[in-house]
């Protein structure tokens, strides 16, 4: 009760300044500008320092949220970010891309009567403070080397979290990244305006300073095999991600101008298409772009298309607004920027011109029936509702499956029924001794913070496994 009384006195939630929609759609600059120190202090003062913090319980990695906010109140910004890092090695990234509305902020007691504390913005504030004013790297004394080596496949959030934790436990960790740049889906998938590359690379640099070795251009399954890694390392962690793009398997998907969301985003994010000094158009988009899907990736594709000069960008989703998996913030920013939405609609065919370029999609309308296995109302096609929409570019953002290229020499590695790697949920242990897995390759496409959680669990289990081995030897 005392908490509820206090809420009457607290100031309103600080709003993070953003670049105006009409300006930001002409650039890939970061949309959200971050809190000023004054804002951060006001916002931190809104935290009630609950004895049993619901926010912390709702955080997949259980960051001590009241703890770091209390340190902000005392202007102990370095200590605040150190506090976050105890549980989350990618503070600036998660401050930006976590779906806080569904996690910590969704559980914040302030949100019951007022607006929840802007936990994500506060986390971002201290992470950015460290980048600009911090000591430039970790100063963790007294890590006792175990003398054991662990190979990590993939440098996305799961792999980075595993590497970070194992390095702190004294393991010699080498990350194998297949692409030319580290970061996994955070680099090739999430656009620059939402998560700048420099932030990702700085947070990776911090982990490298713990002694983690990073090898780019190493495709496990091709350049090296898992069995070879098991020979050279004491354990292997697989965080290879959900990198196999799904298509709808409808006629016309091989027409020019039809892209997977991965290809579309990768051509921009990975090939420097977002940089103003890049003088070669990374992708041909025309004026009318249709994005198929309703998740955050669909929002990323739509907003990227606008920034590449698309005049009309339309998100086509087979359910309604309520069922869209995208974050509210993503959805509202997309709307502000002029992205159009066509709900309860899905394409059944892509049609092309005489040169093989997309010219239209044939769509069908749906109505919502009973809830399906996902708990969302099932879309039911409406007979005779087929209609043609003229379009220049189609992006399929309907999800991704596991990319199993690494498993070339592991034909009998157990997978779940959806093709992901099957693991023990608490340890990340796969069906093969010495091989652990976590992140999207286990869960299917999920959030950065869930992948960090998977990586952390596996790091603890790898430590148990290797220390157990030690005892029996």
């Amino acid at each position: 009760m005392s908490q509820i009384k206090e809420t009457k006195k607290i100031p309103p939630r600080e709003e993070m300044p953003v670049i105006m929609a009409d300006i930001r759609i002409n650039t890939f600059d970061e949309v959200a500008l971050g809190f000023s120190e004054e804002q951060a202090l006001v916002e931190a003062s809104r935290c009630l320092q609950c004895k049993k913090p619901k926010c912390m319980e709702s955080c997949p990695v259980n960051v001590d949220i009241p703890g770091f906010i209390n340190l902000i109140k005392q202007k102990e910004y370095q200590k605040a970010v150190d506090k976050i890092r105890e549980k989350n090695c990618l503070p600036g990234i998660c401050g930006r891309v976590c779906p806080q509305e569904d996690l910590c902020e969704g559980a914040c007691i302030q949100g019951k009567k007022n607006q929840p504390v802007a936990i994500g913005a506060l986390q971002r504030f201290v992470a950015d403070w460290e980048l600009n004013n911090g000591k430039g790297g970790p100063s963790i004394p007294g890590i006792k080397p175990t003398g054991k080596k662990v190979a990590v496949i993939g440098s996305g959030p799961a792999g980075l979290a595993t590497a970070n934790d194992l390095a702190l436990m004294g393991y010699q960790v080498t990350i194998m990244e297949a692409l030319h740049i580290a970061g996994g889906v955070m680099v090739y998938g999430i656009p620059e305006y939402r998560l700048p590359n420099t932030i990702i690379q700085q947070e990776i640099d911090y982990i490298k300073k713990l002694g983690v070795e990073l090898k780019t251009n190493m495709v496990v399954g091709k350049t090296d095999s898992v069995n070879e890694l098991l020979h050279d390392y004491d354990a292997v962690f697989v965080g290879a991600g959900a990198g196999l793009p799904w298509f709808m398997e409808i006629p016309g998907e091989t027409l020019n101008g039809v892209y997977s969301s991965n290809e579309f985003l990768m051509r921009v994010n990975l090939m420097n298409g977002y940089r103003p000094d890049n003088d070669v158009a990374p992708i041909h988009i025309g004026e009318r772009v249709a994005i198929i899907g309703g998740g955050n990736v669909a929002m990323d594709c739509a907003r990227t298309a606008l920034r590449l000069g698309g005049k009309e960008t339309n998100i086509i989703y087979r359910r309604s607004e309520v069922e869209m998996p995208a974050c509210k913030e993503e959805l509202s920013q997309a709307l502000e920027e002029g992205v159009k939405f066509t709900w309860l609609t899905s394409p059944i065919e892509v049609r092309g011109d005489e040169n093989g370029w997309v010219k239209s999609i044939i769509c069908r309308r749906y109505e919502l029936g009973e809830p399906d296995a996902s708990g969302r109302r099932r879309p039911i096609p409406i007979a005779g509702s087929e209609h043609e929409i003229e379009i220049d570019t189609v992006v399929m953002a309907i999800g991704q499956g596991a990319n199993m290229l690494f498993a070339n020499d592991l034909p009998d590695l157990e997978t779940s029924k959806n093709g992901n790697i099957a693991v023990d949920e608490t340890t990340g242990q796969t069906s093969k001794p010495g091989i652990f897995a976590g992140g999207d390759i286990v869960t299917g496409a999920a959030t950065v913070v869930q992948a960090i959680n998977g990586g952390r669990k596996a790091a603890r289990a790898i430590n148990d496994y290797l220390m157990g081995c030690e005892e029996t030897n």
Partner: protein, 281 residues
């Protein structure tokens, strides 16, 4: 960084690099490819591995300057380095003893057929090679191919070397003579591979082709390389690059190959006018 140890200029627009890449050399098999990036602003360029030397830790690549990135690549010299090199990628060619095989290479793709031909010969096949080019000057690896073939036939479009015409004409003539062939392997332009597949179809000769599609990552992430084979969608980077020529949907393959022509033309013009390199300074 991957240093270029040796450069050979086969023709004004066809060049060969021997590159130090021990991890790739250790694993490379015929039919596989690499992806390279010249510098931080560069495209990811897929190129077939022509040769590899495990002891020296080198791989050999041959490329034709056909786009902005390969034009830039061609300007590199011995002693320069390539920023990123990843591989070996793709599925290796299935090298088995079949009996008599015909290996056909066209233009710069003779470089791609060479390692497969050599492996097929080494395992005990009788190898008939057919190589073609626009003219004598752009004909590459003819001596090397001769050394590993039981018979070799050459065609140039202008008749400056071998028979005047196309490599596929020579294949047609051989098959019309009634020789028994157990497999045909063709690597060249899409038009050439399509023609070869049509020539062998009535004879029911198993025919393999290698599809050099557009690619971004080369590890199955993007689907840019997707082709329709036997009514199924396949990714050339991880399911290929070799496919059954009789099952490839050639219309789709040709249509998809044209997707980036406009952008590429613009990029070449900018590069040649000196504008293309401004961003690197």
């Amino acid at each position: 960084m991957f240093p270029i140890l040796n450069k050979v200029v086969w023709a004004p627009d066809i060049k060969q690099f021997t590159i130090s890449a021990p991890d790739i050399a250790r694993k490379a098999q015929p039919g596989e490819f690499v992806i390279l990036r010249i510098d931080d602003n560069g495209e990811r360029i897929p190129l077939t591995i022509v040769d590899s030397d495990q002891n020296r830790g080198t791989i050999t690549l041959i490329f034709k300057e056909s786009g902005r990135s390969t034009l830039e690549l061609g300007k590199l010299e011995q002693g320069d380095s390539i920023l990123d090199l990843v591989g070996p990628l793709g599925k290796a060619s299935n090298i088995t003893k079949l009996g008599r095989v015909i290996c056909i290479g066209g233009g710069v793709h003779v470089a791609s057929i060479y390692p497969i031909t050599r492996a097929l010969k080494k395992i005990g096949n009788e190898v008939i090679s057919i190589i073609g080019a626009d003219n004598k000057k752009s004909l590459i690896l003819s001596n090397e191919m001769k050394e590993i073939s039981d018979e070799i036939y050459i065609a140039t479009e202008d008749g400056s070397e071998g028979q005047k015409g196309l490599a596929s004409d020579l294949l047609k003539q051989l098959l019309e003579k009634g020789i028994k062939v157990d497999m045909v392997m063709a690597i060249g332009s899409l038009a050439m591979m399509r023609e070869v597949s049509e020539i062998t179809r009535p004879y029911k000769i198993p025919t393999r082709v290698s599809l050099h599609t557009t690619m971004v990552d080369g590890i199955g992430l993007c689907g840019s390389c997707r082709v329709s084979v036997g009514k199924e969608i396949k990714f050339a980077c991880v399911d290929g690059p070799e496919f059954d020529g009789h099952l490839v949907d050639w219309n789709t393959a040709e249509q998809r190959a044209s997707a980036f022509i406009a952008e590429e033309q613009l990029a070449i013009e900018k590069f040649l006018s000196g504008g293309g390199c401004q961003c690197h300074k």
